[in-house]
């Protein structure tokens, strides 16, 4: 059996381009899904029943269906209703942000309700508004508590960005699979792909472990 490792070296620039796009997708999705998740969390804690029900339905829909289906759906089905066809990259971001925001909303909600009533009372008792108590007392404490869960979601997201290759977003998976098809070097290309994902993902996983240790018992 002969190996054709030169295929990997010859296409290093394409792997690199794909890897950069993977990082961009991850960073941009998370940057939008933190405010998105916060918004959904507030809506789910709203005193208005219909708002809570609608938000819960949205969140549970995105948490209970496969991400790949959501991406297909946004790309192929949504345009038939809205008559707007977003480019692949924008579509990928929309799908990922809806999905990750839903997960983040549950994380944030749990963080917010974990702050005991006494802290609310202490803030209200000095005459602060509910919004001031939320912004200055509850959220800063909740943020420390949800950091480990957010970090875990981050690493999942990093790997899940590979799914947007199905709508031709040219990130690392898409580039790798394309090189494979062009060169018929399955073992070499998939090994290279795994190595690149691992080299990027492992430090993140270690960072997450550190975050878990650092903020676990933060009170």
């Amino acid at each position: 059996m002969t190996f054709h490792w030169h295929v990997v070296w010859d296409n290093l620039d394409r792997f690199a381009t794909g890897a950069v796009l993977t990082v961009e997708l991850t960073v941009l999705t998370m940057a939008l899904s933190i405010p998105g998740g916060l918004l959904l969390a507030f809506l789910r804690l709203s005193p208005f029943g219909p708002v809570r029900v609608a938000t819960t339905a949205f969140v549970e829909l995105f948490r209970s269906t496969p991400l790949i289906l959501q991406i297909y759906w946004v790309y192929y089905v949504l345009p038939t209703f809205t008559e707007i066809q977003f480019p692949a990259f924008e579509t990928a971001i929309i799908g990922l942000v809806c999905n990750v925001s839903s997960y983040n909303s549950e994380t944030f909600r749990a963080g917010i309700v974990s702050i005991r009533t006494g802290q609310w009372n202490a803030g209200l008792a000095v005459g602060m508004t509910k919004a001031q108590v939320m912004g200055r007392i509850v959220l800063p404490q909740a943020a420390m508590r949800v950091l480990p869960a957010l970090a875990t979601t981050w690493v999942s997201l990093f790997k899940d960005t590979s799914l947007v290759s199905v709508i031709n977003v040219e990130e690392l998976s898409y580039q790798s699979l394309k090189i494979r098809t062009e060169t018929f070097t399955i073992l070499e290309v998939l090994t290279a792909m795994a190595t690149i994902y691992w080299l990027m993902g492992y430090p993140q996983a270690k960072l997450v472990d550190w975050v878990h240790r650092r903020y676990k018992a933060a009170e």
């Binding site: 006494g118 802290q119 009372n121 202490a122 803030g123 209200l124 008792a125 000095v126 005459g127 602060m128 508004t129 001031q132 200055r136 007392i137 800063p140 404490q141 420390m144 009170e219």
Partner: protein
Amino acid sequence: MSAPLVSPPFLRVGAEAAPILTFEKVSKRYGNLLALSEVSFQINRGEVVCLIGPSGSGKSTLLRCANALEMLDGGRVTFEGADVHGAGDARRVRQRMGMVFQNFELFPHLTVLRNITIGPTTVLRLDTAAADARARALLHKVGLSDKVGQHPAALSGGQQQRVAIARALAMEPALMLFDEPTSALDPETIGEVLSVMKALADEGMTMVVVTHEMDFAKRVADWIVVFDQGRVIEQGPPKQIFEAPTVPRTREFLSHLGWHGESIAEISAGE
């Protein structure tokens, strides 16, 4: 509906004793549990009123009704002439009424200084320099000047509670509510909190104190209100409550705490 629900004699009328806070037939229920049943009494300006009684008798609930942290199911709470539960008045009332909690409830993510300045800067719109100066003066007063930059977790329970008192005082309240301020403390730090409270009372601060510290109640209170099962069963000056309670249940409660009607003079002499 400003007509009084209850007329005197429950109101204690004195020459300078203007009521600052009145509870009139206050009722509160949680599901089937009647937490407060037609509770009526008043606090006059400059007085220290201690609420005593068994755990679960409604004392702490009543305190949370005083600054509208709890809604009422009946009756009325009036503070400085305004209905506490009236529309839009809750925040104005809370700014004028300090509250100290059993579990301190300091903000763990803020330094001692910021715990004290957060009220004045966000609610009173004081600038940082003025708020800092006020906080430092209060920390000096409660004996914790050296803890300015610490976080609450680095402080003992007694120190945390003194910071909590300073935090409440920073709003320059007209009245202070204390909800079992020493119940969560180690015995050796109870004294430092009580002496801060005593000093405050001596300065003329109006105070409502839920407490199990009978020595404190006896020595500092101007008026004692005894609770049992959501009702006020007896109220009066400390001398009456501790030396000659008229209600058997009061006597029973006090004897459970090891109090057997010693005269206040006797106890003071025995120190």
